[in-house]
Amino acid sequence: MTFLAKPKIHHPSLPVNALGFTRRDYEGPVSTLCAGCGHDSISAAVIQAFFELAVPPHRVAKLSGIGCSSKTPTYFLGQSHGFNTVHGRMPSVLTGANLANRSLLYLGVSGDGDSASIGLGQFAHLMRRNVDMTYLVENNGVYGLTKGQFSATADKGSRSKRGAANDDEPIDLVMMALTLGASYVARGFSGDKDQLVPLIVGAVRHKGAALIDVVSPCVAFNNHPGSTKSYDYVRAHNEAVNRLDFMPERAPITTSQAPGETRDIVMHDGSTMRLKRLDAEYDPSDKVGAMAYLESHRARGVVVTGLLYVAENASDMHDALQTVDAPLNQLPDAELVPGSAALAGINASLR
């Protein structure tokens, strides 16, 4: 018996996606974060992205660590299983979940403290293992939940709300993901939903580890003039390298842009991601170029956003492990337990 997702009956005027779901089917309970928190805008982008992706909500597993950011999976995809794990360790739990069932879509949500401080090791190893997932870092440069300590992504020289300066070098998770072999690497800004939604859609469609580092101001502890993760700072210093659009599978590809401004990327599921280049120089398939671009802009205090790197035809951890197509958690006893005859052979070899 198979169970197909049947959307609840909704007001007929609400727009529906290809599966007949409305945006509401991808929502969760009301957020308890501070009003104006960047994380809530990211939740809204997640809801919109999954609505556009038109996947049955229960086929998504959402996992997170600990922090205000890691709380957000409560507030979207209410019909999906969720798991608030422990601080900084979402990557290992998600890796295990993915090993158990490769047929679900995995969304990992984390914060900058969660991923760049306590969880930096697990972040790195998930990227290099190329676990098929979308990894969202809701990056506010601060520990929101524990009330305003610097995190490891806080820029050198930035000031805390109480005026203390950060003297340590920041960790750039985007740069790390590039060097560690992530096959889809992007940066977004919680204040730019138009850019963020397609970045999430692309990440979910991508096979392999997809990182989106989303600058997400903390209105309570890191939105003051001295902060480089405030709304004002990012709006003033943001430079988008490209914009994404999505072509549904088999839809006729029409182009209205002048040649040279767009680039189509075929995803492993057959759909097409269309990149509108804002910066004609920028080539998202060139990893070394991406690093140089990021570094030169960082030196000028410019936050580069957009899809920074994507490898087409990427593989994932299951390819490397050569696991069967069927999810491991659904294999019947007969395929798992070798039985007494095989055991007799083993006994014989041990005499």
Binding site: V86, H125, L321
Partner: protein, 615 residues
């Protein structure tokens, strides 16, 4: 040398002193197996340091027709192949014993002992003559001394040769070279030396038993228990468990048509990640495990608490070693009992299984996965280096083909569709175990949020005191239920009515039967109870209540199982008398005899006249 050496049949100890990495291990294993093939039981142990190259390593084989499983202590024949440890090795030989050495260079005066028969075989010389390749010359010295021993100890040469044929089936050049090396030692010794007073004589005392290490057995148990995900980080003495799982999976879990794997093994970046992966896989409905040792268990603490509180099945094989800290990584102990039983912060406790040998490591290795799913909690299989890394003569593995994997209370899509009430932390039938769903089961029902924070019966976040207490009490009820699901104790009564008893668990059982036989001869009669699991089944406190004095034998400094018994069963502390051994070497019967004997005499527990020991 003309002195008369020891004369014993099927009851003596041979020890091999080798250099780690010199290829001696396979020759030594052949030696032990050849004796088993002659129907004579052996108890064998590797003694090794933690370095890989150039360091001493010993292999001790107790040939013991009586079938005792422990070390005896003392050495009757030393095969001294490591010049570095020569002095200590020679000292260890019992008076009247024997010393086998490489006589390529003459033995300097004063290097042997007057009360020991030194037997020289020019092993290096023989191999140099027979083999051209320098690597082979080195390697085949081991097989050559096996040939010598075969002659000296009256081990049937055909038995060894047929084992070589099995081992190198289809590899003719290797087989020929091995045979040649064996004959080199055998023929030279037959020509120049008389057989020793130590003799192996064919018997029929082995039956269908197998010779295997506990880590391989536990790994095979995991295969039969349906484990599909293994995440681990290398640490002695658990590494060979994960490696054996890989080996068995390659053999037993590969889809024939596609070559694809019905398992996933990940060498994680550390133990935090390995247990994290296990928790993730368990949450998602796969049977998952990790293999580690004490230091790894310490690193896993936070996740173990999460898995306990969020009720996620997980299996941890803890192959215990000398602790604390790096301690004695290549030595055995039972020193993680308390840290595993109460692992993590807050009020937590976890089921522990204590296999006594590889056979039980297999059985409990499989059972642990049923228990973890049934109880929805982390389950520890407590091996130790002695069980895990030593080859034991043990009952063959058995599997009942009618057995199915017990997945526990897993609510299906059909049940959800039919409208069955689903409360993730709701106790529907009083056993404290709620139903769970795995992600993706049903489009609209059964999804919930898993978290380490407190929640109500329907998995809704709450910090309300009563809801928290309600949940913690249910977890206690679940632990109560576990008492009847885990293996109960094995109880045996003494041949004479006894006021006193002895309790043990795990590898401590190896020398126990032998020491109890000796104690009974001395008039110390004890009832016995082998504990196989925590939480303690009701039969355990009942047994203790029925005795005035109970010796608790274990391999750690702080009498950890005793502490657990006191804490969990409310027993008067005076009643439980610790008998401890924790120097890292496997326990001997002699040690237990003398410790219990002395304490029993002080307590006036010696009954009647000590019987005269037979022969």
């Amino acid at each position: 040398m003309t002195m008369r050496g020891l004369a014993r049949t099927n009851d003596f100890v041979v020890k091999f002193a080798n250099v780690n990495g010199s290829g001696s291990a396979s020759a030594n294993a052949l030696f032990a197996k050849a004796i088993l093939r002659m129907g004579v039981p052996v108890a064998a142990r590797n003694i090794f340091p933690s370095n890989i190259q150039g360091m001493p390593t010993w292999y001790e084989v107790r040939i013991v027709e009586a079938g005792w499983r422990g070390r005896r202590g003392g050495v009757d024949l030393m095969v001294a192949m490591n010049p570095e440890t020569w002095k200590a090795d020679v000292t260890e030989i019992e008076p009247g014993g024997y010393l086998l050495y490489d006589a390529t260079r003459p033995l300097a005066a004063g290097r042997a002992r007057a009360d020991v028969t030194a037997i020289g075989v020019p092993l290096t010389h023989l191999c140099q003559e027979a083999f051209a390749d320098p690597r082979q010359r080195q390697l085949f010295k081991n097989i050559a001394y096996l040939g010598s021993l075969s002659h000296l100890l009256s081990i049937e040469a055909e038995v060894v040769e047929s084992m070589l044929s099995e081992q190198y089936k289809g590899k003719a050049p290797l087989l020929d070279a091995n045979r040649k090396a064996f004959r080199l030692g055998y023929d030279w010794s037959s020509e120049h030396l008389a057989p020793l007073g130590l003799r192996v004589e064919r018997r029929d005392r082995v039956g269908d038993r197998i010779f295997v290490d506990g880590n391989s057995a536990a790994a095979l148990g995991a295969v039969y228990g349906g484990a599909t995900v293994c995440a681990w980080y290398p640490i002695t003495p658990s590494t060979s468990l994960a490696e054996a799982f890989q080996r068995y999976c390659r053999k037993l879990r590969v889809d024939k048509a596609t070559g694809r794997h019905r398992y996933a093994i990940v060498q994680a970046e550390d133990e935090l990640a390995s247990i994290g992966m296990v928790v993730g896989a368990g949450w998602n409905g796969a049977r998952a495990f990790t293999a580690t040792s004490g230091p790894g268990i310490s690193l896993m603490q936070e996740f173990i608490g999460l898995a306990y509180f969020a009720e996620i099945p997980a299996v941890l094989f803890d192959v215990q070693r000398g602790s604390p800290s790096t301690g004695m990584p290549t030595k055995t102990q039972q020193a993680d009992v308390l840290s595993a039983a109460y692992a993590s912060h807050g009020d937590t406790k976890h089921p522990l299984l204590f296999p006594e040998d590889p056979t039980e490591a297999f059985e409990m290795g499989a059972l642990a996965f049923d228990l973890a799913d049934r109880l929805q909690t982390p389950v520890f299989v407590m091996l130790d280096l002695d069980i895990g890394m030593q080859d034991w003569l043990t009952e063959p593995f058995r599997w009942d083909d009618s057995r199915t994997l017990d997945r526990g209370k897993l609510m299906t899509a059909e049940e959800l569709e039919a409208g069955r009430d689903f409360g993730r932390y709701l106790d529907v039938d009083g056993d404290g175990i709620p139903f769970r769903t795995v992600p993706g089961t049903h489009p609209r029902r059964g999804a919930y949020f898993t978290r380490g924070t407190s929640k109500d019966r329907y998995a809704r976040y709450t910090e309300e005191g009563p809801a928290y207490v309600d949940n913690m009490q249910r977890l206690l009820r679940k632990f109560e239920t576990a008492k009847s699901l885990v293996p109960g104790p094995v109880i045996e009564t003494a041949t004479q009515p006894a006021r006193a008893a002895v309790v043990w668990y795990g590898s401590t059982g190896a020398p126990m039967a032998e020491s109890l036989a000796v104690l009974a001869d001395q008039g110390v009669h004890l009832d016995r109870m082998r504990i196989r699991a925590f939480p303690f089944a009701d039969a355990i406190p009942e047994f203790i209540a029925a005795h005035d004095h109970v010796f608790v034998v274990e391999q750690n400094r702080d009498a950890q199982l005793r502490a657990l018994l006191l804490n969990e069963c409310g027993i008067a502390p005076d009643k439980l008398i610790p008998v401890l051994h924790y120097d890292g070497n496997p326990l001997t019967a002699r040690h237990i005899e003398s410790e219990i004997g002395e304490k029993a005499r002080a307590l006036g527990l010696v009954r009647g006249r000590p019987a005269v020991a037979a022969d």
